[in-house]
Symmetry: C2
Subunit: 388 residues, 2 copies
């Protein structure tokens, strides 16, 4: 299989964008990415789009065809495919685009994630999140997605002595990072006391432990590495793309403090890329809830099992720590437009490896990782990117 | 890229299955396909699932992870990806599975389509169909999916003299074919008078011009052709898999009597497979509405533009005609469980090419074609299958 490179990127700002529609979002991100790669629409071989909520929130399924159409590409009959895997939808789209190039099937692919979530009542967003978990065995019994992560947090605190303050530190740090990201939703500093004093969502998680609903769109362009110089002076290689499934429901897992779909996806990705956790300088992790970042740190092998709270508390995930985690602000700081998130994560890593991350640049980053989670771990996707 | 073969197939019966859940449907079809290919679950490299309505109708997104889980495969961390392209969702899943094998990425892939549509009010099913068309420019103005196809039918009648009776003949024939298919929903003969006397849906289309909502699941197993004999004595080769986009809304098309996404998909597929329309003995066409089959007959090149009504009237699409169309009953006779349909169509062609189609066997079929449509043609997928 061929080596695959990211040759163009573009995002909207994430947040409450009441003056922009779903269509506007895709068009803005897509046009930025196309301009970045200096390509024409008709050169595109296929489009993969990650989206979770359009069927419910804008009453529109078939959004693959929609984005081809609003981009003016339907006249070229370019295939456009929507993929969905809850909050990992964008990362799944990236993986399908990667496979299309790696296989030799396509030479130029657009991968996008788009979501419009702030035009509906917040209960509907909560319900949408719950549809990522096991509806029959969890949702219909009253479990929301934060409630399920709260159980994982409580188990981790009980078994490993992880503290409430350590959870809060994840949010504090990602907000701090977001102040340096012009596309982030929450560009304001918060303190541990702010997190600890914010309203309960599901004990022990509070509002500031949870990534906020947002509108947003992100797009990137993929090409074979050996053709990448046609499009950009700074291609970034996708060294590995791995995807795994885990049980949809928490009750089927032997251990609430481990997400084994992350462990399995990481193992496959490290093997494919020929790297180890210590080789990675920068990572975008799926901090939909603060506990989710702690579990990811452990299950990706960045720190030993049970030690993630201390690892964060010691500053090891700061830009000058052992590994720079969520330098763009993560889901917590950027906002979480479901299907757009996985693409935004990859774009942040691309900026870090290109050296175009501005104020938030991690010095001399060579290898980066992006990790996305669907539900509580029913799906995990890991991408490893590196400089060519 | 490698040659890809279908090495196992399985379906539930289509229809109103009030005693079976979404999960039951996938499990039944998947287990039948796995047994047919004599494989073990842990041998599977990945799963692609076509589904349109689960988010709304069973309040469950993330159905890729769900089907991996209910199949007992999440412990093996097998990647499972949902793809959605309205009524073409199943065909898109097949295409992604095909690419996974052809590329060398995977050696054994499960492709499935599952839908559960009869547990909700029929207005919701109508609304789901409308979400396949352009919601902002069509649905919100009051256009339902049958209303859009009705406009295409009226334009075809006006321009080419196609008659109401010729439309009815499509339904009559597909019902007749369905009587020979034990998995079809509508296994009863109807006459032209029955169609003409059935209630209006959208003039000129009546109830019996429209494929009915159904529950159903279909699954098939793909492997590289050079490994196919491990699994089956009768592999069937996927000679071409093509996908195209067209405008989502009808008003953007220069001509209502042509679906140019079908023409483009057909052209690519014929070229890839090295065949012409006349080489195809059997085809499953997307007759969600009777007019859709007529347009497909023309746009796939089985008869000249404008002649499809006469072509059907003359019996050219009967099992002993020029090309056997929808010998399994099509969407009209089998029922139309949205995402399952595209997989069922391919399975029918596999049975015809294996020679296992029972009472509905087309004698000595060598090459077959399956065509799926999303919405009114925003997406088209064409697969050509042949004996090895």
């Amino acid at each position: 299989m061929r080596e695959v490179a990211v040759v163009g990127v573009g995002s909207t700002r994430f947040g409450e964008q009441w003056d922009k529609s779903f269509r506007d979002g895709f068009a803005e991100a897509g046009l930025k990415a196309i301009a970045d790669a200096r390509i024409k629409g008709e050169d595109i071989d296929s489009i993969y789009i990650g989206n979770m909520s359009a069927g419910k929130f804008i009453e529109q399924e078939h959004v693959g065809a929609l984005v081809a159409d609003v981009s003016g590409l339907s006249g070229f009959h370019i295939p456009a495919t929507r993929v969905e895997g809850a909050c990992a939808s964008g990362a799944l789209a990236l993986r399908q685009g990667y496979l299309a190039i790696a296989s030799g099937q396509n030479d130029l692919v657009v991968v996008a994630g788009v979501e419009k979530t702030t035009d509906v009542a917040s209960e509907l967003v909560e319900d949408m999140q719950a549809s990522a978990a096991d509806r029959e065995w969890e949702g219909f019994q009253g479990a929301t997605l934060p409630a399920l992560f709260a159980m994982m947090a409580r188990a981790h605190m009980h078994r490993y002595g992880t503290t409430r303050e350590q959870l809060a530190q994840v949010a504090v740090q990602n907000h701090q990072n977001a102040t340096r990201n012009p596309e982030a939703q929450y560009r304001r500093v918060i303190k541990i006391e702010d997190v600890m004093g914010s309203p309960w969502v599901a004990d022990p998680l509070r509002v500031l432990d949870c990534a906020g609903a947002a509108d947003g769109a992100s797009a990137l362009i993929l090409a074979p590495l050996d053709q990448a110089k046609k499009y950009t002076q700074t291609p970034v290689v996708i060294a590995a793309s791995s995807q795994t499934s885990g049980t949809l429901a928490l009750h089927d897992r032997p251990d609430l403090t481990t997400i084994d779909s992350i462990q399995a996806a990481a193992q496959k990705a490290y093997q494919k890329a020929g790297v180890q956790p210590k080789d990675i300088q920068v990572a975008e992790l799926h901090d939909s809830y603060t506990i989710a970042e702690l579990l990811a740190l452990e299950d990706l092998g960045f720190c030993p099992k049970g030690q993630s709270g201390k690892f964060v508390e010691e500053g090891q995930t700061l830009p000058d720590g052992q590994i720079a985690v969520n330098p763009g602000g993560g889901l917590k700081g950027c906002g979480h437009p479901l299907g757009a998130t996985g693409v935004r994560q990859a774009i942040e890593i691309v900026h870090q490896l290109r050296g175009t991350a501005g104020d938030r640049q991690v010095p001399n980053a060579q290898v980066g990782l992006a990790q996305s989670l669907g539900g509580t771990g029913g799906t995990c996707v890991v991408h490893i990117l590196r400089r060519p």
